[in-house]
């Protein structure tokens, strides 16, 4: 068995302290030098960036979220001790931790930090699959000779560099596939490094709940529970065909995951499945004019992102959250895929009009899905809307102006509502 000192990065035989530098941060595992698929997850990323940039916040509980009414995007570890969690409504978080400092997210700062981390990861491998600003899969297969060190050493070096050069920390999960790497990175947060090898995967999974699987949410969980499946051991009792019969493609995936198998590659450009944007309001509203303004801005953001990626959507979705936090979604398939803000807005507005009287609302979002390439978009016009072609030309002209002079150079009146 080999052991890695996470401070001086020397490999030695397992012991409590590093023989070289005396550090206690020792990581021992039988397959330490053989594993190459990793998941890196920053620790309380948004909060850590804020604390780094403003040392006065260092020992205060800190919550990053959209104002007093939105939800928690990130809570620092001090706030987490009090029970604050991501995605928790802000009022609830503040009930648990009233003295917390609440900051609105500064996405540009986080994006900047994310880019720096991404650049450090690029030094390890080009096979990086970012899941968001603060987490990514890395495939270091075959890089040992290039780096002169096994992946485990390079990953420990990566988090050390992040700490020293960027003032940010992250946790590493190292395994032989994406599923287990992601599970591992969560085991020892913050500043963690966990390894799940081929030899210990089965024993590790056996008594864990299936909710460990990314994508198994509360509803899938209860469906599984109805079938008597709570842990991975329960899953192992099922025949593959039975699982497929009951849960379809998901069943097949579950069968493999239960055996620690996951063949999904780490892919640098995973296909986008949908593009959406949403916003939580400062105050609940049923004012159609205000909601219309939000709807236009959301449609425009979705359109901007779709155009930037050369994609168009066949389906438009509207999402609303009512004052009691219940969510309404409405979707409609278009005859012709689109990425035009005007079409997305008008379609979503049609959906909105049918549920408008269910307000007041606290959140509004819209998006497109069933994506196709942009050259398949907006191919035919609408007989009953002869002005649509003209509005399309106006939108293209507007885009050209915004590309040249910035996104605020020209706006629609309704964007100001």
């Amino acid at each position: 068995m080999q052991a890695l000192c996470r401070d001086c990065l020397t490999l030695s035989t397992p012991s409590r302290r590093c023989a070289h530098c005396g550090s206690r941060r020792m990581l021992a595992h039988a397959e330490l030098s053989d594993l190459a698929i990793a998941h890196m997850d920053c620790d309380a990323f948004y909060a850590s960036v804020e604390k780094r940039d403003n040392p006065e916040l260092a020992d205060k509980p800190l919550i990053i979220g959209g104002g007093r009414r939105g939800v928690v995007s990130t809570a620092c570890y001090i706030a987490r001790i009090r029970g604050v969690r991501s995605a928790m409504p802000m009022f609830q978080a503040l009930k648990l931790c009233p003295e917390a400092v609440v900051l609105k997210p500064r996405m540009t700062a986080y994006a900047e930090a994310s880019r720096s981390i991404r650049a450090m990861m690029q030094d390890l491998t080009p096979a990086i699959e970012p899941l968001s600003l603060d987490e990514a899969f890395l495939d270091l297969t075959g890089t040992a000779r290039l780096h002169g060190a096994p992946p485990a050493v390079m990953l420990a070096r990566l988090t050390n560099r992040m700490r020293d050069e960027l003032g940010l920390t992250g946790s590493i999960g190292l395994s032989y596939n994406k599923f287990l790497a992601k599970v591992a990175s969560d085991l020892d947060k913050p500043r963690g490094f966990s390894v799940i090898g081929r030899g210990d995967a089965a024993a590790f999974l056996r008594d864990r709940p299936v909710s460990l699987i990314w994508g198994i949410g509360p509803s899938a969980q209860s469906a599984l529970e109805r079938a008597g499946i709570r842990t991975f051991a329960d899953l192992l009792r099922w025949e593959r065909t039975e699982l497929v019969a009951r849960f379809g493609a998901t069943g097949d995936r579950l069968w493999h995951l239960a055996r620690g198998e996951d063949t999904r590659p780490v892919s640098a450009d995973a296909p986008v499945k949908s593009i959406s944007n949403e916003t939580t309001f400062d105050a609940d509203t049923d004012d159609t004019d205000i909601l219309d303004g939000h709807l236009w801005r959301m449609a425009e953001k979705v359109s901007d992102r779709a155009k930037a990626k050369d994609l168009a959507g066949q389906v438009v979705t509207l999402k609303l959250k009512r004052a009691d936090h219940s969510t309404l979604t409405r979707r409609v398939a278009l005859r012709d895929a689109t990425h035009m803000a005007d079409t997305i807005y008008r379609t979503a507005r049609g959906l909105f009009d049918r549920v408008a009287d269910l307000g007041p609302f606290r959140l509004l979002g819209c998006g497109i899905s069933d994506l196709v390439s942009a050259d398949q978009a907006d191919k035919s016009g609408d007989l009953l809307d002869p002005e649509a072609a003209q509005r399309g030309r106006a939108e293209r002209a507007t885009d050209a102006i915004r590309n040249r002079f910035g996104s605020d150079a020209i706006r629609k009146g309704r964007a100001l509502r």
């Binding site: 049918r354 035919s380 609408d382 007989l383």
Partner: protein, 372 residues
């Protein structure tokens, strides 16, 4: 209630009823057909609250009465009985059962009380007229393909039946459109139809109506009000709510100035479109039309799956033109043409195209082009 009825008569009545009842409904009584027997006649009534169909059939009524029973189950049973059988229906109101007997077969079905059955309120019809089945069949058959399924523009989910002016006279007109194609079909104004309010006849009603129109010479009594429309033969009465909405002003959609004229054999054209479209697997298959002096090249280019091209001899004398269409839309309008050549009138590759049969303006189709 106890009646004896000929199997084929019963089957006709029950199959009409079961197609009206909503299969996925949460109100049990709406799955049932109301059977009322009196004199020497039995009435079958079914509704989905928007459409009601009433069938009167001759039967030997031993004991008058009424009950309701699941329409689909009764239909399935009658369908499976041997042809020519005599069916005896006996309702036991107290036990809530209906027995169905034919030969040695015997079925018992649960019933619901007739009082629970929602009978559509009768209304005052402003206009009533009579039209031959063949006339109505042409009006609806040639327009229904263009009915929209889009929920947001619900007022397009039917055929707009109204009175309109054409060549100085009034006509009975049916229009349907989904924003991509439009059909406008005219018929001579039936006596008594003048002053009829325009109504949007829902898609499902159009489907049910079609079953009443098989016999060319049958007189159909049509009654129209602002909110309802009724079509009746001597035996069957179909009553439907109309779509509560305003049909868009379609007249501005029909191009007036298109003067590039293509004349082509409709059947040949449809077959060629169908053939070249085979290579494309996309949801909306685009066909390109390249027009030159007396020839038309149809082509499909699907980068992922292949390409196809076919040339047709046509009559065309204008400047060359390239224009794309959704293959399905082209096929649908081309198959409406059954007597003469199809005449297409184009403007530019971005403008709506008009199609009609020869010089007959009583059936006009408009289709939106597609970028290819």
């Amino acid at each position: 209630m106890k009646i004896s009825i000929e199997r084929s008569t019963l089957l006709k009545a029950v199959s009409q009823a079961q197609s009206v009842v909503e299969r996925r409904n949460t109100i049990p009584i709406l799955a049932n057909v109301l059977i009322e027997a009196d004199g020497n006649e039995v009435q079958f009534r079914a509704t989905d609250l928007d459409i009601e169909v009433l069938d009167k059939s001759p039967a030997q009524v031993e004991r008058a009465g009424a009950t309701t029973v699941a329409a689909t189950t009764l239909h399935e049973i009658v369908r499976k009985l041997p042809d020519g059988a005599l069916v005896v229906l006996t309702a036991d109101e107290a036990a809530g059962r209906l027995t169905v007997e034919a030969g040695r077969s015997n079925f018992t079905l649960a019933t619901l009380p007739k009082e629970d059955f929602p009978v559509m309120a009768s209304s005052e019809y402003e206009t009533s007229f009579t039209a031959k089945a063949a006339v109505l069949r042409r009006l609806f058959d040639k327009s229904k393909f263009a009915i929209s399924t889009e929920e947001t523009r619900y007022y397009l989910n039917g055929v707009y039946m109204h009175i309109s002016e054409s060549d100085g006279g009034n006509v009975l007109r049916c229009v349907a459109t989904d924003g991509h194609r439009l059909a406008r079909i005219d018929a001579d104004l039936p006596e008594g139809a003048a002053g009829m309010p325009g109504v949007i006849v829902p898609r499902k009603t159009v489907g049910e109506l079609r079953k009443l129109l098989e016999d060319d010479e049958m007189d159909i009594a049509v009654s129209v009000s602002e909110t309802k429309v009724r079509f009746a033969t001597p035996n069957i009465t179909l009553t439907s709510k109309v779509i509560d909405g305003t049909f868009p002003d379609y007249s501005r959609v029909i191009p007036q100035g298109n003067n590039r004229r293509l004349e082509v054999d409709a059947a040949e054209f449809a077959q060629a479109v169908d053939r070249v479209a085979t290579v494309s697997s996309e949801r909306s298959r685009a066909v390109k039309l390249q027009l030159g002096e007396d020839r038309l090249i149809l082509s499909v280019n699907a980068p992922d799956s292949g390409a196809a091209e076919e040339e047709l001899a046509v009559a065309y004398g204008d400047e060359p033109l390239e224009i794309g269409f959704n293959a399905k839309y082209l096929l649908e309008i081309a198959t409406q043409v059954d007597r003469e050549n199809a005449v297409f009138l184009f403007n530019s590759s971005g403008d709506p195209t008009l199609m009609r049969e020869g010089n007959d303006t009583s059936a006009v189709y408009v289709v939106m082009p597609m970028r290819v």
